[in-house]
């Protein structure tokens, strides 16, 4: 296991520009979510993924359409990277009937099952066994699908993480464990509560699993690493643990101004903003600044329309609170 620093150029400028635009779309969705929250149109809480975009976009680009993705309550970027539209995400956040989950899930449970995005889970670490189960299912059915569990650094200290790495290793499941290590478990530095320096990668050794520690803000690096790990998983060689170092631009949740993070650390990571990193790479590949700006502008237009669409959408019929418990669509538990 090594910290990989070099990034081989494996994608052309056109593809990278597409990824840049996807990341811009996620960034602006998160900004819109923040603004809507502040204006009182989003209730509950949100855990924004601004800063984490490269992990979702780079990883998703390495997957097939029928692969499975499992995310956490900080999961807007994963839903969007798998094809959820900004409008259906924002509508869900705004409690609208047109939301991804018909306003039954909310920000923490974005799901786009028909795109293989099988949920966002708000109990830390709970989805790792579930992702392993989807991978087990693919193995049982003899498909070439893989499953990916994205999780935070905080999840590496919960039992489900350890039970899953062990069982997935023993069963050689086609599952990828991708840790978005943003250095903080909620408000506490992960280093203050973890016995090893790299909370996911250092634990992989215990389970005989290969691990990679990568720059999670470099979308190409994420793509390359995922591509290799996915190839291995499809070949029956079992799971890989990928620890992608990244940083969130907002606090843990909407109530958190993140004042516990040192200013110089924030500044360092802002210089490593995944959009800036990608922009620099695009420039080095000869893409005009105007073309990159145009991608930003297109994303802004999409988000502006999405916000309006979500605002205009109806609230759910209260009667739908008593639907969708059982497969027959109802909620009857007695006769």
């Amino acid at each position: 296991m090594t910290v990989s620093e070099d990034t081989s150029v494996t994608v052309d400028a056109g593809r990278l520009l597409e990824w840049y635009e996807q990341m811009a779309l996620i960034r602006q969705t998160e900004k819109a979510a923040y603004d809507l929250f502040m204006s009182g149109l989003v209730k509950g809480t949100t855990h924004l993924a601004a800063g984490h975009e490269a992990v979702a976009v780079g990883a998703s680009a390495a997957l097939n359409e029928d692969d499975y993705v499992f995310a956490t309550y900080r999961g807007h970027h994963h839903a969007m990277a798998r094809g959820a539209t900004p409008a259906e995400c924002l509508a869900e956040l705004m409690s609208k009937a047109t939301g991804l989950c018909k306003a039954k899930g909310g920000s923490m449970h974005l799901t786009k099952a028909d795109k293989g995005m099988l949920g966002s889970y708000a109990i830390v670490g709970s989805h790792l066994p579930i992702a392993a189960g989807a991978a087990w299912s693919a193995k049982l059915r003899g498909t070439q699908q893989v499953a990916v569990a994205f999780f935070g650094d905080g999840a590496t200290n919960i039992g489900a993480f350890h039970e899953t790495l062990n069982m997935a290793a023993v069963w050689k499941l086609p599952v990828l464990f991708v840790c978005e290590n943003n250095l903080y478990m909620e408000y506490t530095p992960i280093s203050a509560v973890t016995s090893v320096a790299h909370p996911a990668a250092d634990r992989a050794v215990s389970y005989g699993l290969p691990a990679e520690i990568i720059d999670g803000n470099d979308v190409i690096k994420v793509y390359d690493t995922m591509t290799d790990a996915v190839d291995q998983a499809r070949a029956g060689e079992g799971p890989t643990v990928i620890e992608a170092l990244t940083y969130r631009h907002y606090g843990h949740s909407r109530a958190d101004p993140a004042k516990y993070r040192p200013a110089d650390e924030v500044e360092h990571w802002m210089q490593r903003d995944p959009l800036l990193v990608a922009r620099e790479r695009l420039t080095s590949l000869g893409v005009d600044a105007a073309d990159i700006d145009a991608a930003d502008a297109r994303a802004a237009d999409v988000i502006k329309a999405a916000v309006q669409e979500a605002k205009d959408a109806p609230y759910p019929d209260p009667a739908t609170a008593l639907t969708d418990v059982w497969a027959d669509g109802g909620a009857a538990w007695r006769n």
Binding site: K112, L128, A132, N335
Partner: protein, 326 residues
């Protein structure tokens, strides 16, 4: 008459029938493969279906039940075993927060056709951490179906429904009944979830029971014949869906209701049944509803102590006698 089979054999038989019928049915759990289960309730499965259909797991309840959930969401119909129902506490997140909520919180995008089988209940002297009747732990969470058969034929018939259900089902196999015998299930035997069974007709008192308390109630009813008290015994068979109609229609005739539960009085399923009957059948009653449930203490080890805590024939007889005289 066909040869009687044990409840234990019926579990294996019920699983085997479903595994033969549907190749998507796959079992996982601790020691369920070559070892055939610590209770020998997966006997013959590994031999017949092999390691691709019967998976031995590590002692990792969260991984077992979580993996079953992920598989159920993606085209498999897993049957996960949690060896002792007490261990549900080790993976309660999945029973409380994940499995019952997947369909709902995704707005109906996800279907979860899975079964969690577990050996439940006391009477065998396993002490506080291996003897509990924990059906109420599951009953407290909306979104899970619950089956708890009392006879070998019902084991097979309810297993068929549980495995075929597109909803998650927790299937309680009672440890105290494993050696009991009954009629074998006919071919293609399917008992729908949510249909109680009147297992003994009577006119004076309705006794509603579940799993191990069914034979307890039946023995009590038999004893009370000599006192000229006619007891109707209903085997609920499932807690969700709950067959309230069968209970209410019985109470309409007997006007007296006793609920016999092995889970603790505190938070036990009988409280919910009692509240429904009090609410919807108050005018049918001639006496208060009585509950014979476990005492609200941990399960003790010694037989003499355990009998003091869980429902026994004597306790049910006494409760019926008092209620009939009310």
């Amino acid at each position: 008459m066909a040869e009687l089979i044990t409840y234990r054999e019926a579990v294996s038989e019920g699983l085997a029938r479903e595994m033969r019928r549907d190749s998507r049915v796959v079992c996982l759990g601790e020691d369920i493969g070559a070892a055939e289960g610590v209770f020998k309730t997966t006997t013959g499965l590994f031999t017949e279906f092999g390691p691709e259909r019967v998976w031995d797991t590590p002692i990792s309840e969260q991984a077992i039940v979580g993996a079953a959930l992920g598989a159920a969401m993606t085209g498999i119909r897993p049957v996960a075993e949690i060896m002792f129902s007490d261990f549900i506490a080790c993976c309660y997140d999945y029973l409380a927060n994940e499995i019952p909520k997947m369909r709902y919180m995704t707005g109906g995008q996800v279907t979860v056709p899975l079964v969690i089988r577990t050996a439940n209940g006391g009477g065998l002297g396993f002490g506080a951490q291996h003897s509990q009747a924990v059906e109420n732990w599951v009953f407290t969470v909306p979104g899970l179906k619950i089956a708890a058969p009392s006879t070998p034929a019902d084991v097979v018939g309810l297993m068929a429904s549980a495995v075929r259900s597109d909803d998650p089902v927790v299937f309680f196999e009672h440890k105290g009944l494993l050696a009991s015998k009954g009629e074998p299930a006919p071919e293609e035997h399917v008992v729908p979830l949510g249909e109680a069974s009147v297992v003994r007709s009577g006119n004076d008192v309705t006794v509603v029971a579940l799993a191990s308390t069914v034979p307890t109630a039946l023995s009590a009813a038999e004893q009370l014949i000599t006192e000229d008290i006619s007891v109707e015994v209903i085997d609920l068979r499932c807690l969700v869906p709950l067959d309230v109609k069968t209970v209410l229609s019985s109470v309409e005739r007997t006007s007296h209701l006793i609920l016999v539960e092995e889970n603790p009085y505190q938070g036990g399923w009988g409280a919910t049944v009692a509240s429904i009957v009090a609410d919807e059948g108050f005018e049918l009653l001639d006496a208060p509803i009585r509950r014979v449930a476990a005492e609200c203490v941990p399960l003790p080890f010694a037989d003499a102590l355990e009998d003091e805590v869980i429902p026994t024939v004597e306790k049910v007889v006494e409760a019926v006698r008092r209620l009939a005289a009310f």
